[in-house]
């Protein structure tokens, strides 16, 4: 039963919300469940017992009735694949309440195996010629508008001086605004606005779909002049996001949308931490920006959640580039000063409906948005 193991391990930190004795037992059980899922007493092979089974490296109290267990795994257990790495980190234990994956280490063995974001924060800034300021994003919506109306909206938004115009994540390939027609017209509209303003606004259509359609749509979007792509990994899979990031011929920045994956982060005792989900896992899968709700909007995100996201998108992960947080979810121009205090310069703001309430046109709304960001921006 000889297996060629390097001895290199990576560590995952789990937050366990349960009484101490149960948490100590649970930490050991995680090491078994996430690897061999087999009665430990039946394991006879030394390498499996000594290396493959997850090992509890540390166990610390972390508040009233909360403990942090550090469990290490052999790097070989992941096969250097994203799906299997996620499976080792949080596969079966996702079904047990009281366990949250808080964060994980990046072992040297992962460098070169996961390229992560193609652009990252700095690459996005270069694309947009915006070296040192917060970036401004907005959305074309609502679902149900015709291609003509959506393209007119994309034009007006870009004309006002945005950096990123993205599809609403609910725009797929519906009869009222078919994908190909929408993407051609909206990319053209943003390009026309850029010619008029001298700007470099990029249009990011939503390509979320089953794998074959996703890749086809991404290629079509590239050919039509899209400057980025919106993907919802909760629906398409993190592996699908990675496929787009790894595609040399595509070479477009990717914006990860949080829909459908919300059940991972609704309870602080369960699932994935915002640090792990929006920071580490999105980066590992190749997103250049992680869209997420800001606090105080339509979603109940807390100060701690936001702090974790800000830390997670830039935390060291070997050769992987830092990415940008992209907070939205009901933000208005009035939120800008507070958001700049929290996110600093390294952020893409995302405002939707509020721009429709400003001035005489959407372009006017965007100009007010820009002025608010410039006025509040860190000197």
């Amino acid at each position: 039963m000889k297996v060629p193991l390097s001895g290199e391990r990576f560590r995952a930190v789990y937050r366990l919300t349960m009484p101490e004795a149960e948490a100590r037992e649970r930490a050991r059980a995680i090491g078994v469940e996430q690897t061999i899922e087999f009665p430990a007493d039946l394991v006879t092979g030394g390498d499996i017992r000594d290396h493959i089974i997850g090992r509890v490296e540390d166990f610390l109290p972390s508040g009233e009735g909360v403990f942090e267990a550090v469990v290490s795994y052999a790097v070989e257990s992941t096969g250097a694949e994203l799906t299997q790495a996620l499976n080792v980190l949080f596969g079966n234990i996702s079904m047990i309440p009281g366990i949250r994956l808080q964060r994980f280490d990046w072992p040297p063995a992962f460098d070169g195996k996961f390229r992560g974001p193609r652009f990252g924060a700095e690459g996005l800034r270069q694309l947009l010629s915006a070296s040192n300021r917060p970036l401004l994003g907005a959305v074309i919506k609502p679902m149900g508008l015709s291609v003509k109306d959506l393209a007119a909206m994309a034009y007006d938004l870009a004309l006002g001086g945005l950096d990123v115009v993205k599809d609403d994540h609910g725009l797929a390939d519906q009869s009222f605004a078919p994908f190909r027609e929408r993407v051609e017209r909206c990319a053209e509209a943003v390009s026309r606005a850029n010619r008029e303003t001298g700007g470099r606004c990029l249009y990011a259509p939503n390509v979320t779909a089953s794998p074959t359609a996703l890749v086809e749509r991404a290629r079509f979007a590239k050919a039509a002049g899209a400057g980025g792509l919106l993907v919802t990994p909760g629906l398409a899979g993190f592996g699908a996001l990675q496929t787009l990031a790894d595609d040399e011929t595509l070479n477009l920045p990717l914006f990860g949308h949080p829909a459908f994956a919300g059940s991972f982060i609704t309870r602080p005792s369960d699932g994935l931490s915002p640090f792990a989900l929006y920071g580490q896992i999105h980066r590992m899968a190749g997103a250049d920006a992680a869209i997420h709700p800001h606090k105080g909007g339509r979603f109940p995100f807390t100060d701690r959640d936001i702090d974790e996201i800000v830390q997670g998108v830039r935390a060291p992960m070997g050769t992987l580039k830092p990415i940008l947080p992209m907070p939205g979810g009901g933000m208005t121009i009035e939120n800008i000063p507070e958001m700049i205090r929290i996110y600093g310069r390294d952020v893409i703001f995302l405002i939707g409906g509020d721009l429709h309430r400003r001035g005489n046109s959407l372009s006017d709304g965007v100009r007010q948005y820009r002025r608010a960001v410039e006025a509040a921006a860190v000197p």
Copy 2:
């Protein structure tokens, strides 16, 4: 703003755990969030206001502090695509605690758009020549074994008279048991055992991976003689599962594994109901069997959870075939009589480690397992 809508709608039932006034407001907000995500007062188009926005059709108390809201959506909002249908049903609201998607209707418009399971319960029974009895499954594991050891285990299991031998979902493409070598050897081992027993045991390797690798592995497995495929949609995406189910040339039954998607079902107030996840969504994506924990094992599934799964896998969904539940997660031969009382004949049992504790060989263990099922089986 004319959009070509048929007027046909489908209904989703949400379980809201919150005070009544909040739940009533939340039901309306769901209809907006899941469709236009836009301030309703800014919507001027009649079709969007009258048809696209989700409509609250019913609101009922469902226990102390729990309400059921029925929200209907225009079928066109889904674009007849799985990813977008899931997005409409539970995209952004997945980020809000207290909302659970309990179930959804199957509108006639979905028939022919989603083929669902290729085999279903009856197709699996035909493949296995087992028209009227519970089916017996087991697993080759643990991670860390060599291909030779795994193939020997597959042979012994098949020789004992199993119906399905599947890879552990943690077997991917690791150095200690590379995918291609493992699949060739294990398929050959099961085939050899079948020749000796006259049985029809099928081997289902784990093909979960990023989309390109997933399809390559599925094709390789088919060519190597695999009789089914194991896919973890929480890792690969439900769209990837659908791609395999829709592939005419593949034509293999698919076993859906619950890993990583557990956060959808850990809290009764949040996420997806077991009915919706294991019954409806797995079927919509094309799984022929939904693997899930039985109660009383290593995962805290309740009587109600199991009842929902049993109902969900066979609930009417237009032209979609019923599928089989595949309960596991720490089951032993002693659990069989109780499980037959719960699942009846329409089930694939899944036993792992326990078979290693029986008799002198794994084949002996399987024979005891068969006898237990035959003894307990409904006449």
